[in-house]
Amino acid sequence: MIIYLQDPQKTEAATLLVKSGVQLWQKPQDAGPMDTWDQININPLERVDGLLLEITKADAQINYLLAQAILLQKETLCFFEKSNPPRPLLMYLRRKNVPRSIQIKSYCKNNLKDTLYKFVKSIKPTLQIAEVPNIKYTLRMTESLENYLNWKSQHGKINKADFIRDNLKKIMEEDQDYFKWRNK
């Protein structure tokens, strides 16, 4: 899955998306040699699955990319700082005749990841986003569980944290009650 990202605000978007396993194009070199595109005579934007445009400080380049995205009927998320909305562009994008492929979302530091992941998932629901285990968790163990983890780590060639995470994930994925509850 290829996403084009235009992020003049230099948010964490690029880092989050790369970590989640999305192939990101941000600059011409990312799409490979220009000669290749010249040969087939198309704009590389035609080959991306979607566009992510940070529009807090919208400019002519953003307008151009949006025009291309509309023309090419590409799924596009325009995201902007909640505290600093680009009002003229938002008024323009909220008109009736704007295609549904153009989504608009505000973000703050705490929900940027969710905003981006929801968009990526909306393009490709089957995509397994590689979540990054970045929530610190302190856990007290019994002596027997610790012995088992030590043994498993040594003999299974897996670190203890991964072993716990993998098993917890497996339990979660098989827990239908949990999914029913989450999808309410």
């Binding site: 235009q6 220009m34 010249d38 005579n41 002519a60 307008n63 151009y64 025009a67 509309i70 023309l71």
Partner: protein, 318 residues
């Protein structure tokens, strides 16, 4: 529809993509007004200049375009011209000589799709089509690219070819690469169109100097190609000039009967001059040389002056 941008672009419709045989100014205005994509980038105001088959485009089209640009020069930030692939390199080259030293961009763009495909497309759709419906075809977002370039800091007379902007006097027909109609001479790209549009640093910037508009030209020019057994009996014909795509050594066959009182320009790298009114033109794109000859003859009939002007770099042709 109100535009998001303050830039004003004049869109001169001179062929290219047609929207049916009865296409007219009112339809063009409606189409522009409904083109959300275009209005994102600029306030686009259309002019209806030419509507016909690309192969039928006359030299005069460049003159008509030049007149409109001259009359509206101060009103707009840039000019975009839609044109059929057939003849686009001739019209754009001639216009580059007619509108010299302009401080604003004048950008040509080809059709969204070749005319034969266009007919099939219309037959299949059987209804008016929106701009977005061209999206799967080869030369697609040329108009959007051209409008964007016309808002940027450049003052070129250029042609959008694929993912490049090319100086009009460097654009040429492509005979070697299947599927590509146009190419460019000396591989000088003014801009690359990839995710955005990136102007190269040798692009001429906008300026406030007075442009030089001169739409005079003479189309009474005989254009010849040399080949085995080719004939030319032109001594008594009423031409203002003769342009020959010649051989590389002896220029043209000795049996050619050419007049002595009008300029004869031979496109060749040869050196053998056969007569005082014959001169060689080289180091320039063929189509541009023809267009330049047509324009130069409109400026003077003096053979020496014609020869001198043909050798000068007037619009970035060398």
């Amino acid at each position: 529809m109100q535009s998001l941008s303050q830039k004003k672009i004049c869109l001169l419709y001179a062929g290219g993509t047609t929207f049916g045989p009865d296409f007219n100014l009112a339809m063009l205005k409606k189409w522009i007004s409904n083109s959300f994509e275009l209005q994102m980038m600029a306030q686009v105001e259309p002019y209806f200049v030419w509507h016909g088959a690309g192969a039928d485009v006359p030299w005069d089209l460049a003159g008509r375009l030049t007149t409109i640009i001259k009359d509206n020069y101060k009103k707009y930030d840039g000019f975009v011209i839609t044109h059929s692939i057939d003849n686009i390199v001739y019209t754009s080259s001639l216009l580059a000589f007619m509108a010299q030293n302009t401080g604003k961009p004048i950008i040509f763009t080809g059709p969204a799709l070749p005319e034969e495909n266009e007919q099939i497309f219309f037959q299949q759709k059987k209804k008016p089509i929106s701009f977005g419906e061209f999206e799967t075809l080869a030369i697609k977002s040329g108009l959007i690219n051209a409008v964007q370039i016309a808002t940027m800091d450049n003052s070129e007379v250029g042609v959008v070819i694929g993912n490049h902007l090319v100086r009009a006097t460097q654009a040429k027909f492509n005979w070697d690469d299947p599927g590509k109609y146009l190419s460019f001479f000396q591989k000088h790209s003014l801009a690359r169109i990839q995710f955005g549009i990136h102007l190269n640093n040798y692009v001429k910037k906008r300026h406030e100097n007075d442009p030089e508009f001169n739409g005079k030209f003479i189309s009474r020019v005989k254009i010849l190609d040399v080949h085995p057994e080719s004939e030319a009996d032109l001594a008594n014909k009423d031409y203002a000039g003769i342009f020959i795509r010649g051989f590389q050594e002896q220029l043209y066959p000795s049996r050619y009967n050419l007049p002595k009182h009008i300029p004869v320009c031979v496109y060749s790298q040869g050196t053998e001059i056969k007569s005082d009114n014959v001169f060689i033109c080289s180091g320039i794109n063929y189509e541009t040389a023809v267009a330049k000859f047509v324009w130069v003859l409109g400026q003077t009939s003096d053979i020496k002056k014609v020869k001198k002007l043909m050798g000068q770099n007037l619009a970035g042709e060398f």
